[in-house]
């Protein structure tokens, strides 16, 4: 479903990503764990075809992100951190607009809106303009917008940031339910508790490189630490110590 091979991204002399490789399959929540600036967003932007890799390759649902971007876009739902919405459109108008951009007919669109309404309890959001939404309401609509075409792959970038407890719970429950329906969810976060609760496997990213790919339990066991947070810090420390050891 998702195959990332030696992906790199450079901006002039600066290397944002270097030799990233991993695979993820349907029915899996794959976490991208890393501090701010680690390269998670750049990687998700490459997977969503918004950025082109400068080296390596990646395929989503069998389509290469660089060679077949339109095919990839038809199969992904993207939730980026900013929760940007068209303020002057109602929730329903937003969903209908994005359904049309995905080439869906009216019948299928209305059916999907009903399903998403039931899943996310959109209710009033469908009739109100997005400009008046709270953060939690915005996040619900952003999720519904990403799921309107029922994509097999969902890319979530820091999707829970700024959410209150209830909205965050809705998000986590939705991710779990999508996994149960054999969707692949790539979940980028720096919140350990979310990784522990949701992710089947994860890639720890730091400085644009993958430090480890494993399940949360494997990661803790490999590190010899007692929890994921300590295991994460140990990995980061090891990465920092390596160049120092090489260069003396």
């Amino acid at each position: 479903m998702l195959d990332v091979q030696h992906i790199g991204k450079r901006y002039g002399q600066h290397s944002a990503l270097e030799g990233i490789s991993f695979q993820a399959r349907s029915g899996e929540v794959f976490g991208l764990l890393g501090a701010n600036g680690a390269g998670k967003t750049t990687l998700l932007r490459i997977l969503s075809t918004l950025l082109r890799p400068t080296s390596g390759s990646a395929s989503v649902a069998g389509f290469d992100v660089a060679a077949r971007p339109q095919e990839v876009r038809a199969r992904i739902g993207l939730v980026s951190g900013g929760m940007g919405l068209h303020d002057r459109l109602t929730g329903a108008e937003t969903l209908r607009y994005f359904a049309a951009l995905h080439g869906m007919n009216k019948f299928r669109t209305e059916a999907r809106i009903e399903v998403l309404d039931a899943q996310l309890d959109l209710g009033e959001l469908l009739r109100r303009r997005a400009g008046s939404f709270s953060t939690g309401m915005k996040q619900k609509l952003v999720l519904a917008r990403a799921l309107i075409h029922d994509p097999p792959v969902l890319l979530l970038d820091e999707a829970s940031s700024g959410l209150d407890v209830l909205a965050r719970r809705t998000l986590l429950d939705l991710v779990t339910s999508l996994r149960n329906r054999e969707r692949l969810i790539v979940y980028s976060t720096h919140v350990m508790s979310e990784v522990e609760e949701l992710c089947d496997r994860l890639a720890v990213i730091s400085g644009g490189q993958v430090l480890s790919v494993a399940s949360p339990a494997e990661l803790v066991a490999q590190s010899g630490e007692r929890n994921l947070e300590r295991a994460f810090f140990k990995l980061l420390s090891a990465q920092k110590a390596l160049p120092e050891a090489i260069h003396g």
């Binding site: 918004l50 339109q70 980026s80 900013g82 940007g84 002057r88 459109l89 994005f98 951009l101 995905h102």
Partner: protein, 408 residues
């Protein structure tokens, strides 16, 4: 796959729900144009008319013949006379505002024809109020006094006063209906139309590009399978339609000017008011052919301006930044439009009509003057469409860049 119209429809919905855009697209063109073409002439007419009904103060040094004094002070059916006051220094009196004008008798004035005298008139030459008021009344009175003296002398000699004017020259307006209606200040009409197109398109262009980026909606939009060229053309269509709406309301404002002028202009106005109204095009008359030409020209200009605005807005990270980039564009319209006031002195070849924007201005000016030509219209439309096409190519390239989706 979503069509261009789907994108345009969404952009138009967002635009229609923005009050600022509605104001710049509908209200301002509908209000400003009739206000300028009818209201301003009426106001100026009232001011000029007001001068006729005001008794101005005129200072005098020396002795005026009694008949001339009477003529200066007398009221007629249409205007009041002046009030004569004795002063010492005419320049000081005028400059201090003590009097509106001053008269100085430098040599004794005759009371019969055959002798001559000199009378100096002092007033601020650049002051329209003094020119149309006190100075105008003094000139008329002196002219009437001279005519009376000569007339009396001719009568004593048993000669007809017609001897004074062997050739009578009368003036007939040879303008066509449209020229006569558009007035000497018709050159402001292209400025109005294109300026409203720019104002109408600006909000839509900036909101649909820099606004998307600022709100963070570009990422989700560009992650859909709709080709970027479709998205861009949809945004261009929406911007052009908004600009055209502004242009249509401007044309509507223009065509409403004449009936509004008839409604609000009281019967029996003074000549000054009528002349002013004519100068400002208060009785502008546009037939259906002229309206069609205006709309076609406006459409092509709207397309070009929209493409230019979208291209510039794609460079900006926020609506405010886009507005800063767009602000100098006003000069692109104002400068050529200002030069149009000298259009009567210019010999314009057909080629100039092919210049984007400038050609449109000339066609609009020709149309309101009833001189439009099919070839000129074709050239101006072709120039604008070609320019828009080139800009769309540039914008498409810019829209394909990675950085276009992100705020930073």
């Amino acid at each position: 796959m979503a069509s261009i119209w789907t994108v345009a429809q969404q952009e138009l919905t967002a635009t229609i729900r923005d009050r600022r855009t509605l104001t710049s697209t509908i209200l301002i063109p509908l209000l400003i144009i009739p206000l300028f073409t009818v209201g301003l002439p009426l106001l100026l007419g009232t001011l000029f008319g007001g001068q006729a009904q005001t008794r101005q103060s005129v200072g005098v040094i020396g002795t005026l013949p009694a008949t001339l004094r009477t003529q200066l002070e007398a009221d007629s059916k249409t205007e009041k006379g002046v009030r004569l006051t004795v002063i010492r220094d005419p320049i000081k009196a005028v400059q201090s505002g003590e009097v509106d004008a001053a008269l100085k008798v430098t040599s004794p004035l005759p009371s019969v024809a055959g002798q001559s005298g000199t009378l100096q008139l002092f007033y601020k030459l650049g002051n329209l109020k003094a020119q149309s008021g006190a100075a105008g009344k003094v000139r008329s009175a002196v002219e009437a006094y001279n005519t009376a003296l000569v007339g009396r002398k001719l009568s004593e000699l048993k000669l007809s006063s017609a001897l004074l004017t062997p050739v009578k020259l009368s003036t007939v307006d040879a303008s066509n209906v449209a020229e006569a209606g558009s007035g000497a200040l018709a050159f402001v009409i292209p400025l109005f139309l294109l300026q409203f197109i720019l104002a109408g398109a600006t909000a839509a262009a900036t909101d649909s590009t820099a606004g998307e980026r600022e709100r963070g909606t570009f990422e989700a939009l560009l992650a859909t399978p709709t080709p970027r060229s479709t998205l861009l053309l949809g945004k261009l269509a929406a911007t052009t339609i908004t600009a055209l709406a502004a242009a249509a309301f401007s044309v509507l404002g223009l065509s409403l000017s004449a009936p509004i002028a008839l409604l609000v202009t009281p019967a029996g106005q003074g000549a000054a008011q009528k002349a002013t109204q004519q100068a400002f095009g208060g009785s502008l008359a546009l037939g259906s052919g002229a309206l069609g030409t205006l709309l076609l020209t406006a459409t092509s200009a709207a397309l070009l301006i929209s493409a230019l605005l979208l291209t510039l807005s794609l460079l900006a990270r926020s609506v405010r930044e886009a507005q800063t980039l767009i602000a100098p564009l006003t000069l692109l319209i104002v400068l050529p439009a200002t030069l149009l006031q000298f259009a009567d002195f210019l010999k314009t070849g057909a080629a100039i009509y092919g210049m984007p924007i400038v050609g449109s201005m000339l066609v609009i000016l020709d149309t309101v003057k009833g001189q439009s030509s099919g070839l000129h219209l074709l050239l101006s439309v072709a120039g604008n469409v070609l320019g828009a096409g080139l800009l769309v190519i540039v914008a498409t390239r810019m829209f394909g860049r990675e950085s276009v989706a992100f705020k930073q």
